[in-house]
């Protein structure tokens, strides 16, 4: 019998439909893989018993003729999504014992579609980080290695690592500045951040509300489309949710890119970027041209301001969003001498260094006397960055860029150098600032045998074209490499 952890989500759904195996069998195979992979530290809270129950219920539903979009598929849930009756920690100490009485809209949609949830996946604390090293529950290890333990990227490191290691058929993730796409690039997986407003933010622990967006990490472009079709959809409980129907993205994946205008933004390069990445980018351009696309050079002149803008806007929103974790109603509480002291102790002990750093930056940029120079100016530049894209769409339909400026790096290498760490998001953060869909597709291995991804950015609400281009890229790259299974 084939190894059920090596098949794709699409393949698994076909196999379930054909009756080749049951959801219980599929789920058991993945639970076994998860249990063997504890060294990756991909899970914060495994929910194997729940998964077995859900798999059994799914098989029964299937027998009675009810088959949802994700019927019986064992998947992972980033621990930023609140899940009813299951601990939801945001990888923090402050929410370490928090069990919601409610379900996020995205996870509810997937439940309604027949998902089997294997557990809550590790992440950077409150999704703040680019290496999954800020988790209170320890770093996640990348299944790909180069003689030493490597980071899986972040913040959705648990999701990326689990999908790359075959622990689940796909996983949810969230992306505020690159947290889906950069880990996908580091782990040889596909990750898409859809248009801002496609997925409801209801029930997702907020980091930076105007940038946060949920999306999947998957083994293939088609799998990503299947997952996103289930996750997305209008939700009146989120005022920023878009009232748009969800198109047939799965169908878009195989379509021809003949005549598609692919923009290549000349600003997407930074000092010290490995030449291999430049070369791969050029390779990607050639692949698209060979597939019939028209290549257009475009300019996004404000790109260099994207990262500074992001590190003003995101911490500003975070400083306010995280104010609710005060030890008064739920979560960790450390009693002090008086109210102010209790706040201080609770939040000092409950938040990790990176979270505290961002709360302080955010508080600073919103303070009287600094607001205009930082927050207000950043918002103005953010508008300019969005305008850059709007202008680019006059001459192209999608943009092709590298996903990240490096391959996965060793655990501990950048954790004490925040600026180096922040540079990881330099190519992904623009799509968040402009609210655009962006996907990372694994394209090649570097000289050290580590995966590198290419990014496709599309127009708002035009995920269909993004999937089409990503599918063409995936086909041309023919990336089939898998990490050696050293962890089991």
């Amino acid at each position: 019998m084939t190894d059920l952890t090596k098949i794709t989500l699409a393949g698994a759904l076909d196999g379930l439909t054909a009756g080749d195996f049951s959801s219980v069998e599929l789920t058991d195979a993945h639970i076994e893989a998860c249990e063997a992979a504890s060294g990756l530290n991909a899970f914060i809270t495994p929910t194997f018993d729940l998964a077995r129950d859900q798999a059994k219920a799914s098989d029964e539903r299937r027998a009675s003729g009810t088959v949802g979009k994700l019927e019986g598929a064992p998947l992972g849930m980033k621990d930023l999504f609140c899940t009813e009756g299951v601990k939801s920690t945001a990888a923090s100490k402050i929410l370490g014992d928090f069990t919601p009485t409610y379900e996020s809209t995205v996870s509810a949609n997937m439940k309604a579609d027949g998902m089997v949830m294997l557990g809550k996946l590790n992440l950077d604390q409150f999704a703040m980080g680019s290496a999954n090293e800020t988790s209170f529950y320890g770093p996640v290890i990348n299944p790909w290695r180069n003689g030493e333990d490597l980071v899986p990227g972040g913040s959705s490191g648990g999701s990326a690592s689990a999908v790359a290691a075959g622990l689940c058929l796909g996983a949810t993730a969230t992306d505020t500045g690159g947290s889906i796409r950069q880990p996908a690039s580091f782990t040889g997986t596909v990750g898409i951040k859809p248009t801002y407003g496609r997925c409801s933010r209801y029930g997702i622990v907020a980091f930076a509300s105007s940038l946060d967006q949920a999306g999947p990490i998957a083994k293939t472009v088609e799998d990503a489309a299947i997952l996103l079709e289930s996750m997305a959809g209008y939700d009146p409980k989120d005022s920023t949710s878009l009232n748009e129907t969800v198109p047939d993205w799965r169908g878009a994946c195989g379509q021809s890119v003949k005549g598609l205008r692919v923009g290549v933004p000349k600003e997407y390069t930074i000092d010290g970027m490995p030449s291999e990445i430049e070369a791969l980018w050029q390779q990607g351009v050639d692949w698209m041209r060979d597939a019939g696309a028209e290549i257009v050079e475009v300019s996004l002149p404000h790109t260099k301001y994207a990262l500074p803008v992001y590190y003003v806007v995101a911490p500003a929103e975070a400083s306010s969003n995280l104010a609710r974790y005060d030890g008064m109603r739920y979560g960790l509480r450390v009693d002090g001498e008086n109210l102010a002291d209790t706040y201080e102790r609770t939040r000092t002990e409950g938040f990790g260094d990176e979270v505290r750093r961002r709360i302080m930056i955010g508080t600073y940029v919103l303070s009287a006397g600094y607001y205009d120079a930082y927050y207000l100016r950043a918002q103005k530049v953010r508008t300019k960055i969005a305008d850059d894209f709007r202008n680019a769409w006059d001459s192209c339909d999608v943009l092709l860029t590298p996903t990240a400026p490096s391959a996965a790096f060793p655990v501990g290498r950048k954790i004490n150098d925040p600026v180096q760490m922040y540079l990881n998001d330099v190519f992904t953060v623009t799509a968040n600032l402009a609210g655009l869909p962006g996907i990372s597709v694994p394209a090649a291995l570097d000289g050290n045998g580590l995966p590198l991804g290419l990014q496709v950015i599309g127009k708002a609400l035009d995920e269909s074209t993004v999937f089409k281009a990503a599918g063409a890229l995936e086909k041309a790259a023919g990336f089939t490499a898998k990490p050696e299974k050293w962890w089991a």
């Binding site: 105007s210 500003a316 306010s320 008064m328 109210l339 009287a368 607001y371």
Partner: protein, 493 residues
């Protein structure tokens, strides 16, 4: 913010100090709770007096991942109120976060409208008691959510928090510093109260805290440079507003005349001692770090939305008052009383329509309000409906009963004994207008009092005695005019 305060108070409102006269400058921020069954950003109910923490949704309690969704009904009420204040309605407005930590603020921020309020400048006319009408400018009206309630006196070492109010919709109505006396400030709040009640956008109940005021007070030499102001927080009755202003003004004058200066600060009014005291100084003021709430889209109102609300606007107290004077010919003072709230005005119009409006007004202002007052009740619980009072007035008009008898009938109606017609019928109170019958009574009285008849011829004032006797004989039912005429004739007066 620079406030321009061109109007100089009437001399009678000047306050005299040791070193000369002073003028009061007052501006108010009134918080009016939107009359809505649900909160501003959550579906939770807003019932008053419910058990603590029973009107709280996940959003109101600030749970992780919870998002606000604006309650359109509340927006509509804010626009309605704005139109009632003759104010500019801003088609674009935005919600901002006001960040601070406190136990009764679950999110760690209050959602308010800082930079772009839904309603801009407006103006209302007020009439302070015993004074001339004054126009008061409205600076803005914005929507914001209320915080929960901290209860410090249930335990010696713990604070209890009730989140029932957390997220309740408030309209903050900010006036310009256009008031020059405590009477004006109190009249302004009263006028606002009447307007929101007439519009139905707030119940105006100050006792429940559904309408409360932050009072900004400063003093200056009449017409001179503006002084430093102090803000007195959360004053919740008209009387307390007046008391707080009087106290605060005197405090300022004393400090200034002793050569001191006023510290800009936030103060509390102690309604037991009748004093204000420091709550926090300017140095302790929070840095609220306002910024646009990224969870909410800006409010964008269409012309159609505003036009629909406008078309549905009821007549407001000030306009109604003017109409009562014009249409019914009642004095301005009476018109003011009759339009103090919508129900009173409606009652009056029901009574006055098709009748002598002055008589209707007199009966309401005299007998009815007097009786309601004695019974310690109000018009809403009046035992006499507008129709019933109208019925009584009709019987006076058609001379079925005299005004004097009518007062007795009114008393019986108020006691719940029936309609005017029923009581007149039951007690046989119908006025006698049959001249023959009246003549009979007159003859009888004259015959029975020969001495008095002689005296009356010398002293015509004795006519009253005869009228009284005749009325007595007729049990009050004889038409007094007819009695008078007949007596004069027969006594030769």
């Amino acid at each position: 913010m620079t406030f321009i305060a061109p109007r100089v108070a009437d001399k009678k409102d000047w306050l005299s100090g040791e070193t000369g006269d002073w003028e009061l400058i007052i501006g108010l921020e009134v918080h009016a709770q939107v009359a809505s069954k649900a909160k501003l950003f959550s579906g939770a109910p807003t019932e008053f007096g419910a058990e603590p923490n029973t009107q709280v949704s996940l959003v109101d309690a600030g749970l992780p991942g919870m998002l606000p969704v604006v309650n359109e009904f509340c927006v509509e009420q804010a626009v309605r109120t704005g139109l009632g204040l003759n104010a500019q309605i801003n088609k674009f407005s935005r919600f901002d976060r006001k960040n601070y930590f406190y136990v009764d603020l679950p999110q760690g921020y209050q959602i308010s409208q800082f930079e772009f309020p839904v309603v801009g400048e407006g103006e209302i006319e007020i009439t302070p008691e015993g004074g001339e009408p004054v126009s008061v400018g409205i600076e803005r009206l914005h929507l914001e959510q209320d915080a929960g309630k901290s209860i410090h006196d249930l335990s010696p070492d713990e604070t209890y928090v009730d989140l029932n109010r957390s997220g309740v919709a408030l309209m903050e109505i900010v006036s310009k510093p256009d008031m020059r006396s405590a009477a004006e400030a109190s009249a302004y709040v009263d006028a606002l109260r009447q307007i929101v009640r007439a519009l139905g956008t707030c119940d105006g109940d100050m006792e429940k805290g559904n309408l409360r005021a932050d009072v900004n007070v400063s003093v200056r030499r009449p017409g001179g440079e503006l002084g430093t102001r102090c803000e007195i927080k959360n004053v919740n009755s008209l009387r307390f507003i007046r008391q707080a202003i009087h106290y605060e003004a005197r405090r300022h004058i004393e400090i200034l005349e002793a050569g001191g200066s006023i510290d800009q600060e936030t103060r509390l009014f102690d309604n037991v001692k009748g004093e204000t005291r420091t709550m926090r100084s300017k140095e302790d003021a929070h840095d609220y770090r306002y910024f646009p709430d990224p969870d909410l889209l800006p409010l964008e109102l269409t012309d159609d939305f505003i036009a629909k609300i406008k078309a549905d606007l009821p007549e407001l107290p000030e306009a109604r008052k003017a109409r009562f004077v014009e249409q019914y010919g009642v004095p301005a003072y009476d018109a003011g009383v009759l339009t103090a709230d919508k129900a009173t005005g409606d009652y009056f119009e029901a009574v006055a329509t098709g009748r002598d409006a002055k008589i209707a007004s007199n009966w309401m202002m005299g007998e009815l309000f007097g009786a309601l007052n004695n019974a310690e009740t109000d018009l809403a619980d009046s035992p006499i409906s507008a129709d019933a009072l109208g019925g009584l007035i009709d019987r006076i008009a058609d001379k079925t009963i005299s005004g004097k008898i009518a007062k007795d009938v009114f008393g019986k109606m108020f006691a719940g004994e029936g309609t005017a017609d029923e009581i007149i019928e039951r007690d046989g109170l119908k006025q006698v207008t049959d001249m023959g019958a009246i003549e009979g009574f007159v003859d009888e009285v004259i015959a029975a009092n020969p001495d008095q008849v002689e005296k009356a011829k010398q002293n015509p004032k004795l006519l009253g005695f005869f009228v009284g006797q005749v009325m007595k004989k007729s049990q009050g039912k004889a038409n007094p005019q007819a009695v008078n005429e007949l007596l004069r004739q027969k006594l030769g007066l």
